[in-house]
């Protein structure tokens, strides 16, 4: 009976998907929703592709799953993925339905599914992924994700013991997803070890998971990402099976050491956050059985998706568009830090990070601004900081509290106004840090800057 319901749901959902596509609509969520409505335990009956890979974690899951899909495709595997759709239960199911025949057979070899952490309980117990990649568990939207202990709890509760884990050894929180008897490999970075212990704005784990003593750190890269140990017991960060030992920023290459020895890959982006993403992807692909040549080929052909990182030159202006993810304090702080550390001293940061949905007929919660470290914006190489959007006054106060000089801050509620506030005499490299779900505002700023670049160029 249940199986009949499953087939009925599958056929209705597939029909809906077909019709939606015919109408040119985005069919990456609703078909899954219909399927669950008609058959609440749809996922339990579905036959997934032979290998199912779930990618989760606070930051980097889209980049990792895109990278995995791209490299696997280049190596001749057929892939089911939800990279253009939603990463909650209905999105994952929609992607699987699309690649399931009307007889319930999977059409593809491998499923690479990006899974929202909070959807874990609705997905893993039935789908039982063969692999789970978790890049990090960090502070995220306080409304949706509460705190990291909660996220760790639900992922852990949802995952079957049969899932092989690919975890970040430099993140104790995701490392501790491994249960006794569970297969697991760890990845990490030993290159560019930070010197000393730079105090962190926030750390999501400070106590030893074994004995509760305050953890000591060999070094910390950012927040709680780094190597830790306990002086009261034997606890220490896991030893990585795949470790990036060298990042050559001149040659745009990095070296990873594993049981296969040292291997080199193209460094397709030099932000340390992305280097972790590369380590995660390589670890998983190696576990799947791909060799260096197969993976390296993918790395030479792949680029970070344009919406996340884009560089444009216009006249005298160099424009870098960076996705900064509002409501996500650590992702945002990493972007501020990146801008501060990039060589050059004529930088301007334009921030378009207010949440779109939360500001339409609403007043966005700005608590996250205070979890986000704004001190990088005080760096003397950043000559100007422009906050634009409905919460610009809140950003101003936050930046002042972080020690950013008032004289270099400008604010405007209107994003198109930001370009007029820019002082091109002192700033030629403009970093636009924008929220993913405000593409039109990001585009407004980008186009404004491109026009301004052309004007100033002609003016010279």
């Amino acid at each position: 009976m249940k199986k009949i319901r499953y087939y009925f749901a599958l056929h209705v959902a597939k029909l809906a998907q077909f019709l939606m596509k015919l109408l040119g609509r985005n069919a990456t969520f609703l078909p899954g929703k219909i399927a669950i409505k008609l058959s609440p335990d749809f996922l339990k009956h579905l036959t997934p592709p032979k290998t199912v890979i779930a990618v989760t974690g606070t930051n980097g899951k889209t980049t990792v799953s895109n990278l995995l899909s791209s490299i696997l495709t280049q190596n001749g595997y057929s892939i089911t993925n939800n990279s253009f759709g939603s990463n909650v239960q209905a999105g994952v199911i929609s992607a699987l339905i699309e690649d399931t025949t009307i007889f319930g057979k999977p059409k593809k070899d491998i499923a690479v599914l990006e899974v929202d952490e909070r959807s874990s309980l609705l997905i893993y117990p039935d789908l039982k992924p063969d692999y789970l990649v978790c890049n990090n568990i960090m502070r995220d939207s306080l409304k949706r994700n509460a705190h990291t202990e909660f996220i760790q709890f639900i992922i852990s509760k949802a995952l079957p013991l049969s899932t092989k884990l690919v975890l970040n050894a430099d993140d104790i929180i995701s490392s501790s997803l491994k249960k006794d008897g569970q297969a697991c490999v760890y990845f990490g970075i030993s290159a560019e070890k930070p010197e000393g212990n730079i105090p962190q704005h926030i750390k999501d784990i400070v106590y030893c998971p074994e004995c509760g003593a305050i953890l000591e750190s060999e070094y910390v890269r950012y927040n709680h990402i780094g190597r830790h140990f306990c002086t009261a017991c034997q606890f220490q960060s896991e030893a990585p099976d795949y470790v990036i030992t060298e990042i050559d920023r001149e040659k745009d290459m990095f070296t990873i050491l594993s049981k296969d020895g040292e291997e080199k890959y193209n460094l397709i982006n030099d932000n340390i956050v992305n280097v972790y993403n590369f380590a995660a992807a390589i670890a998983l692909l190696k576990e799947l059985g791909l060799d260096h040549e197969q993976i390296a080929k993918g790395f030479s052909k792949t680029k970070i998706v344009k919406t996340r990182f884009e560089e444009i030159e216009s006249g005298n202006l160099k424009i870098t568009m960076l996705m900064a993810k509002g409501q996500n304090p650590i992702a945002c702080a990493r972007c501020y830090d990146y801008v501060a550390k990039v060589p050059g001293d004529n930088k301007c940061a334009i921030l378009v990070v207010d949440d779109k949905d939360d500001n339409i007929n609403n007043s966005e919660s700005t608590c996250w601004l205070y979890d986000c470290d704004y001190s990088a914006l005080a760096d003397p190489s950043i000559k100007q900081v422009i906050f634009c959007g409905p919460r610009c006054k809140d950003h101003l106060l936050r930046a002042l509290l972080a020690g950013v000089d008032e004289s270099k801050i400008s604010i405007t509620e209107d994003c198109s106004e930001s370009v007029n506030l820019l002082n091109t005499d002192i700033c030629q490299h403009i970093y636009v840090l924008h929220e993913l779900y405000r593409p039109e505002d990001a585009r407004t700023v980008k186009n404004g800057l491109i026009s301004l670049g052309k004007e100033t160029h002609h003016g010279n």
Binding site: S363, S365, W368, Y370
Partner: protein, 235 residues
Amino acid sequence: MVIEILFDESCNLFGDGQNSAYLKATLPEAQFIYTKITDVPYFVEQDPDIIYIGSMSESVQRRVINKLMPYKERLFALVEKGTPILATGNAGEIFCKHIQYVTEELEIDGLGIFDINVKTDLFDRYNGKVLADFENFKLVGFRSQFSMLYGDNTDYAFTKVIRGIGINRDSKLEGLRRNNLICTHILGPILPLNPLFCEYFIALTGTKAEAAHKEAALSAYYQRIKEFEDPVVPC
């Protein structure tokens, strides 16, 4: 002036950690003592002028209660003496009588300053805003919590909300107060978001101080009041 920040290394969720930064910017001369969970609190032997504690995870909350239980009498004495103590988010729950953790199937006693019970359910998250009348100004803030409080706080509520909820979904009386111990479920940067409340809270020590970056803080504060007063904005 001596300000003790309790367990800042972990009781700092949702931006709460920056309340001490705002106090520091407002009171640059004050001495700040950051007590770790493994330390003996400063208040045990000394008299701090202000104590602050922020939001924490549920497991840390249980540990904090364990930690403070031996100093319960001393804390009571400080409260009776009128020491300004501010507890934001779920920090105030440690002063309640009893906490039930539904998801973890655990029940523990709190410090018991208030005859109020707490129920915490990891699968029932409440998000909301608070607009409240307080003394001669307004209070604004945000809430995100797994817990609700039950009991009668009529005589010792922190504030009556104009919009939003009180100690639970059926209440309009927010928070708990005894003398200068203020427990509020408003979390995050309550002090920078409410520069007038920051000045009020500091004034409880007998010292007058102007809130840091007051012009910028007031400008954001008045914008927020206007938005929260708009009936279109959900609370």
